[in-house]
């Protein structure tokens, strides 16, 4: 048993160590452009993971990018107008986004499906107007320029490590969340809301907390983005971003913990690669999306899991044996 475990452990350890070291070394041998692409990938991972949190409770929103924008604007404005240090701007940016999300869920507590989607779309519209029109604060269409960098760093490399570290923190926190009973209860709400309610789950409260945590991380990512780029404007947050976030989740497999991560990495890379194709980029992206949806309805990670259970070791034995040995481990979903 011990031998088996250590072998299984090693299977994971070796690729992780090699991959991790390659990733850590990347800024030192790649071009700055690649480092920049990786930073975008990290931010997109955070966006996809934070989006999934509300998604699993059965609410598909159109305004996740707005929480990203709220984090970015709040952080940038605090730094510019009040000269606050980055740490405080970062925290307040995230909290502002979380508060906005909790408020949105509270006022839409009775809306579901298409209705919630449309209300969240209206929220996005309202906030876009605020960013465009509140010129004294947001700089209107021309945005905010020369946002102070984080701790004075002006090259790409330090940002690579800062944002990588924060992405790791995000993944870890999400892992803890989904592993907990609270995480399972979020899944339960998504599966059958009315049943969740009558077994004593406070659906509204859970959704508010899920939305707030999701928006908190999206807001943090927005703050990192603002201080990394040094410039934000309404065009930095196009409204289609949420659709892209949704597509990353679906392509990777939204039911699986690693799904949004795989989707965000792959599709960000593909769309950057697609830039070379000019006008064909959107068609290429759409083709990949359609191919994945048709060939793997549970996403890439979903397919991998299905294949593993079909061809690999059976995960659960079922029946009395399993009950005697204790219930299956509570992981992922």
């Amino acid at each position: 048993m011990l031998k088996l475990m250590s072998r299984r452990g090693l299977n994971w350890v070796i690729p992780t160590v090699i991959g991790g070291s390659l990733l850590l070394a990347l800024p030192w041998f790649g071009r700055a452009y690649y480092t920049h692409i990786f930073i975008l990938i990290f931010l997109n991972i955070i966006l996809a993971m934070s989006y999934r949190l509300l998604y699993v409770t059965g609410l598909v929103s159109f305004c996740h990018v707005t929480f990203y924008a709220i984090g970015a604007y709040t952080s940038a404005i605090l730094a510019m107008k009040l000269g606050l240090p980055f740490g405080i701007c970062f925290l307040v940016g995230g909290i502002a986004a979380a508060a906005a999300a909790a408020f949105l869920i509270l006022v839409t507590s009775r809306a579901r499906g298409a209705y919630f989607f449309l209300i969240s779309f209206s929220f996005l519209g309202v906030m876009n107007t605020v960013f465009m029109q509140w010129r004294g604060m947001t700089g209107g269409a021309s945005g905010i320029t020369s946002i102070p960098p984080i701790m004075g760093f002006t090259t790409v490399t330090p940002y690579f490590y800062i944002i990588l570290a924060f992405t790791a923190v995000t993944i870890f926190v999400m892992y803890l969340l989904y592993r907990s009973r609270f995480g399972s209860e979020l899944m339960a709400i998504g599966e059958a809301e009315d049943l969740a309610e009558v077994i004593g789950i406070d659906v509204l409260r859970h959704r508010m907390v899920a939305a707030a945590i999701g928006a908190l991380f999206a807001g943090f990512a927005g703050s990192l983005f603002a201080h990394y780029e040094g410039f934000i404007a309404p065009t930095s947050f196009p409204m289609w971003t949420t659709i892209y976030i949704l597509s990353w989740c679906v392509i990777g497999g939204v039911r699986k913990f690693w799904g949004p991560i795989v989707g965000a990495v792959l599709m960000t890379a593909i769309s950057e690669y697609g830039r070379m194709m000019g006008a064909m980029q959107a068609i290429f992206y759409a083709a990949v999306l359609l191919a994945v949806i048709m060939a793997m309805p549970n996403g890439i990670v979903g397919l991998v899991d299905t294949l593993r259970t079909r061809f690999g070791r059976r995960q659960y034995l079922g029946g009395d044996t399993k009950l005697g040995a204790g219930p299956p481990p509570v992981v992922d979903e």
């Binding site: 009973r181 899944m187 599966e191 049943l195 077994i199 004593g200 789950i201 079922g318 979903e333």
Partner: protein, 256 residues
């Protein structure tokens, strides 16, 4: 003392009157049947008890406390649980996990403690898990305990629905047509399950169309028709009641 007391509950949906001035008393430890033709208002009545819908007027008292209009999760916490007529399960979770999720009410904790797995949370979770396993055994679901709920045969799905409600730890369990669509063997199995629940000292309110089941196991029966209570009494009294026979079969002159 009556565990459940329903006082003149009326529910209108626009112009349609689903329930009118319905009274009901359930004593602690009883198994009370609620029957009536389709559309009589039974499911609406259950939705009102469990807080899914609010009555237009009237009151519901549970253990002497007014629970009218309370949110469903609060009512569940008070100890009133239900299943659903149409099978509702957490389809993509295992049978054990379905039950375990419902086993939390005495183990309520805060989200932060939950996420960071404080020792107290672990303790409670393992207790919840043990309780879930006991309920799996009580419901005869051992063989399928690791299957995803959506992959179960119908009979097991219905039994799981009841097991989930039982896991809430109710004092009053409201069962909405637990044997619907079951064959004779599955029905016998489910009746055995209900008997076992009853032996645990849990009061049961049962909505069912299957007359044999109702007449066999209920202490008392209440009959609804078109939203009104038309009869109440022991099974043999109900079987001979003229109004009830009319409600189900129509009046003799209607036939000719």
């Amino acid at each position: 003392m009556a565990i459940l007391e329903v006082d003149k509950v009326t529910k209108r949906f626009g112009g349609l009157e689903a329930l009118r001035d319905v009274d009901l008393q359930v004593e602690s430890g009883e198994l009370v049947g609620l029957i009536g033709p389709n559309g009589a208002g039974k499911s609406t009545f259950f939705n009102i008890l469990s807080g899914v819908t609010r009555p237009t007027s009237g009151k519901v008292f549970f253990q002497g406390e007014d629970i009218t209009g309370m949110k469903p999760h609060r009512i569940a916490e008070k100890g009133l649980a239900r299943n659903f007529q149409a099978t509702r399960l957490f389809g993509n979770l295992s049978v054990l996990k379905n039950i375990q999720l419902a086993c939390h009410i005495p183990a309520r904790t805060n989200i932060a403690g939950d996420v960071f797995r404080l020792p107290s949370v672990r303790q409670r979770e393992s207790e919840a898990q043990q309780k879930a396993i006991d309920i799996v055994k009580l419901g005869g679901l051992e063989v399928v305990s690791d299957e995803l709920a959506k992959n179960l045969p119908h009979g097991y799905q219905r039994a799981l629905g009841v097991a989930i409600a039982l896991a809430v730890g109710p004092k009053l369990l409201c069962l909405d047509e637990p044997v619907t669509g079951m064959n004779a063997e599955e029905t016998r199995f489910m009746m055995g399950f209900i008997e076992k629940i009853r032996k645990e000292g849990i009061t049961i309110l049962l909505v069912e169309h299957h007359m044999r089941v109702v007449m066999d196991i209920c202490d008392r029966i209440t009959v609804l028709n078109f939203g009104r209570k038309i009869a109440e009494g022991k099974p043999d009294e109900i079987q001979g009641n003229k109004d009830v026979i009319e409600a189900y079969l129509g009046r003799p002159e209607d036939v000719t």
